[in-house]
């Protein structure tokens, strides 16, 4: 800076002159721009004055939003699962009302308005534009309409509107998959694009309805309408129709869903069926369930409370959020891990005396069969569900290698299914235990993890995904409900395998493991042989499992009363069919079902329909039997 001054002399006079020249340019520019502004105001206020005067004086021309109809939802065979039906609602146009509070007071006895209704109305009115119709009560009954019609002359500003509302024809059958729509809450109202949702009262709350809200919603339309002084519509001047939201076709199949639902009737549990080649979810059942139609028009508090407080938790999505120890169902996956790491081969055997002990420790980890299984190879270990074999294998594998292998099947992470509020469950590792429990990993803890107990938990959806991947011969899939969407919106949906599980062994091992699982059902010593005898026309593969209910000590006495029943073990069955070219993979969980083998008939009912088109004659409700056949 100083150096520059020393060399070049700044000439203040010359710079002032330069500035003045520039300032003159600026002043000319400013004058020109003001000329433009004055021209514009002259144009609007003098030349176009008549036009705008008319517009201003008859403030009768309004802009009305037309809510778009919501997209339909179909099952894979085109059966309508979510429909739109006309309903009547009462709205208030505040421009036509002098005293809104007085009108609300007058309407209260007519429509039996609650304080809650009025509070909601005021909240909506607070964010709506003055000219917008604000809904006061949705889904009017015929009596409501009749009572209102009698006093309508006295209720200027209150109008009955027809609008489309959501209807689920199959009631509670699909509620845990499709979810429901309901009135937009105050909190959602603040976050929504007010233009996009102008005129819309309903929004997806859970399930497919929430996940694909943007596709289902559609594009808002609008019309310029001329009304008289009383706000009555005289004519529509200009109309841009709304565009219906995209129609969604799901992989779900009504028949499979219905069969799974009926098979589970009376039990708490979940059934998830997946097409292994696409990852498409064919059935997604969580029982008990609830009526989604009750939520659409605003659920009565009593009904909601009964859902919320019921001991069986019908609102709880067991298939998506329920975390259970996977039990012996993990053994085929774990066996593949043993082969992958080269820890075992198909010829490798152990001698099972009914228990396993860690070296230098006298503690006995017991097999479910007290006498032991004798000489056991991998095939037999899977078929007879030998615990001792897997105690030893998991000890040699260690928790971190176990974790790294099992995560390829979707354990311990959200599957990424197109539903909201999924639970990731837990696939333990040394790092997981250090971070979550602030404790080191003990070698003995691996024993329970290795047979699907202890820290290891999974959701029915995760087990269905794992089963589908195994049935696929290690081709990874991501479970999803959406098959196609029509309309202008595009979306990313892979209806095929996304990658192959990096398996180090012989690829033929996958087939051998599938054969072992076939023998669980069809072999003479298989844990699900009782079901295998009844299978006709195809061969199925499977694996039983039993999940211990925590909180009760081994051998503790309990009553046979209802409360006691809730402490019985959970029963698992995973399976797929046909064995050589799997078309359907299933995971079944029944809470307190006691035995996984008793759940196999539910899977068989689904296979019978999918492969043979045969419907079950009687519900194969598994009844708890005292005789132990698994663990």
């Amino acid at each position: 800076m100083r150096r520059q001054n020393a060399i070049t002399i700044k000439d203040n006079q010359q710079e002032a002159a330069l500035f003045r020249r520039r300032a003159i340019v600026a002043v000319v520019f400013v004058l020109l721009m003001f000329g433009v502004l004055i021209g514009r105001y002259y144009f609007l206020q003098i030349i176009e004055h008549e036009t705008y005067s008319v517009l201003s004086e008859n403030n009768r021309v309004h802009l009305e939003a037309i809510a778009p109809p919501r997209g339909f939802i179909f099952d894979r065979k085109g059966r309508l699962l979510a429909d739109n039906q006309p309903t009547f609602s009462l709205t208030i146009n505040r421009q036509q009302v002098e005293d809104v509070n007085a009108l609300l007071t007058k309407l209260t006895p007519v429509l039996n308005l609650s304080a809650e209704d009025i509070r909601r109305f005021k909240a909506r009115a607070g964010v709506a534009r003055k000219y917008e119709e604000v809904p006061l009560r949705l889904r009017l009954s015929e009596e409501d309409i009749a009572r209102f019609s009698e006093v309508k002359y006295d209720m200027k500003g209150a109008n009955i509107n027809v609008e489309l509302s959501r209807f689920y024809p199959y009631g509670d059958l699909f509620s845990h998959a499709i979810g429901y729509v309901s009135r937009i809450s105050e909190r959602e109202e603040k976050e929504l694009d007010p233009v996009k949702y102008a005129g819309t009262n309903l929004i997806g709350k859970i399930g497919i309805e929430k996940y694909y809200e943007d596709y289902l919603h559609g594009t808002v339309g609008y019309q310029h309408v001329e009304t008289n002084a009383h706000g009555r519509l005289i004519r529509v001047l200009k109309k841009t129709p709304p565009t219906r939201g995209s129609d969604l076709t799901l992989h779900l199949d009504y028949d499979l869903q219905k069969i799974a639902h009926d098979q589970l009737a009376g039990r708490r549990g979940a059934v998830v069926a997946i097409d292994p080649s696409t990852g498409g979810v064919l059935a997604f059942v969580s029982n008990p369930t609830f009526d989604p139609n009750a939520f659409v028009g605003g659920i009565p508090y009593k009904l909601y409370a009964s859902y919320r407080d019921h001991l069986d938790k019908p609102l709880y999505n067991r298939a998506l959020q329920g975390i259970y120890p996977p039990g012996s169902t993990i053994k085929p996956f774990e066996g593949m891990g043993g082969l992958h790491y080269g820890l075992v081969s198909w010829d490798y055997t152990i001698s099972d005396r009914g228990y396993f002990s860690l070296p230098g420790d006298t503690h006995q980890f017991r097999d479910w069969k007290k006498t032991g299984h004798g000489i056991v190879d991998l095939h037999k270990a899977v078929v007879e569900s030998c615990d001792t074999y897997f105690y030893q294998l998991s000890d040699r594998m260690g928790v971190d290698r176990f974790h790294d292998w099992m995560k390829h099947f979707g354990f311990g992470a959200k599957t990424g299914i197109d539903l909201v509020h999924e639970n990731a469950a837990t696939l333990p590792s040394v790092q997981w235990k250090r971070e979550r429990l602030k404790a080191p990993w003990y070698r003995g803890e691996m024993m329970s993890v290795g047979i699907g107990q202890g820290y290891f938990t999974a959701t029915p959806l995760q087990l269905a995904m794992a089963t589908a991947i195994l049935a696929n011969g290690g081709n990874h899939i991501k479970p999803h409900l959406l098959r196609t969407a029509s309309g202008t919106t595009s979306f990313e949906n892979i209806n095929k395998s996304d990658y192959k599980v990096p398996y180090a062994g012989d690829p033929a091992d996958w087939e051998r493991m599938k054969v072992s699982m076939r023998d669980v059902v069809h072999g003479p010593n298989g844990t699900a042989r009782a079901t295998g005898y009844k299978v006709r026309g195809y061969e199925m593969a499977g694996k039983t499992g039993t999940a211990q209910v925590k909180g009760i000590k081994q051998g503790a006495k309990y009553d046979e009363a209802t409360v006691g029943e809730r402490f019985l073990d959970h029963g698992w069955f995973i399976g797929f069919a046909p064995v050589d070219n799997p078309k359907i993979a299933v995971a079944v969980l029944v809470e307190n079902g006691k035995h996984g083998s008793a759940m196999a008939p539910i899977a068989r009912a689904l296979f019978d329909f999918e492969l043979l088109g045969k419907r079950p004659e009687v519900a194969a409700i598994p009844t708890p039997a005292p005789a132990a056949s698994d663990e």
């Binding site: 700044k10 520039r22 300032a23 600026a26 002043v27 514009r40 105001y41 003098i46 808002v220």
Partner: protein, 383 residues
Amino acid sequence: MSTTQDRFLRHMPRDGSQFKRKFDLWGMLHIDLPLLVALLIAASIGLFELYSASGRHFDMTLKQLMSFGIGLTVMFVLAQIPPRTYQTISPWFYAGGVLLLVAVAVVGDVRMGAQRWLSIPGVGSVQPSEFMKLAMPMMLAWFLATRVLPPSVFNVGIALVLIGIPALLVAEQPDLGTAILVAASGLFVLFLGGLSWWLIGGFVAAMLPLAWMVWSHFLHDYQRQRILTLFNPEADPLGNGWNIIQSKTAIGSGGMLGKGWMNGSQSHLEFLPEGHTDFIIAAYSEEFGLIGVLVLFSIYLFIIGRSFYIASTAQDGYSRLLAGAITMSFFVYVFVNAGMVSGILPVVGVPLPFISYGGTAIITLCSGFGILMSIQTHKKLIS
């Protein structure tokens, strides 16, 4: 800078008159009377219109009056400080502003979807981008004041970096409107400092193909649609288009003489959104007609003219450039607001100076005019 130069100036014959100058109260108070009177007239019009446009909201009007009180006090205080002091603190001011903008980006409050506010415990919330509207021309004027003018290409490059950093920080908030205003206030200094017409022309010539490239190759259809809607709000009648349709109706229905004070039906029936803030000129035009608009524009033109006079008679480079840039910025606020409300410019959030409701803008504007008054009233008091 150069005290020799000042000493030289002091002995010039033209300035000899100051010794025989008669007693000047306003000069002693460092107040430029013509500017003050014009500002007070504009503020009065603003208060009257605000009372009407807010729906006879007395509390709001009173709050605005208090903002004017604070603004005028700030102006008076700033006018006492000699321009030399402003010049000395300019870089610190600028650096502080940039630091605050960085702080906003890191720990700022998110309001209305943008991160513009900084909570200071015990002081309240501040909006550093507002602060930058003055810090930017001060910095650029400081930078160019010591350089030979017109600036070399190298110095223009440095100046562009100085403009770019805070402008990008503001644009990130995101507040594109303010970012453009902040950048413009710096570019005006460059322009007034004699930025070569070749460079200006070259820059424009370079931007055109670049803009075309981005438009045709990098933007998605929906992004293009969004930009088109910005320039043609009628295409979006439920969003911005609603405001523009209503404000044009308000202006147009005012006619030559207007509907009279408190009689603007568009704003009183709540058809006009933001009728007391950004869109207040629509309510004003409805009530006072084209005559009212011309009166208001005349006052603005007088303020701009007086400010240019102050700038061009300033005695050192720093004062000249700063005063000129403040004047140009003031013009841009008026033009952008009056233009967007009447539907010839895209809708961006720029209030109408001295008329729109809002204390922050008033204080920023008054600070600018305080500096202008300081430049004017310290001219002849060199001792």
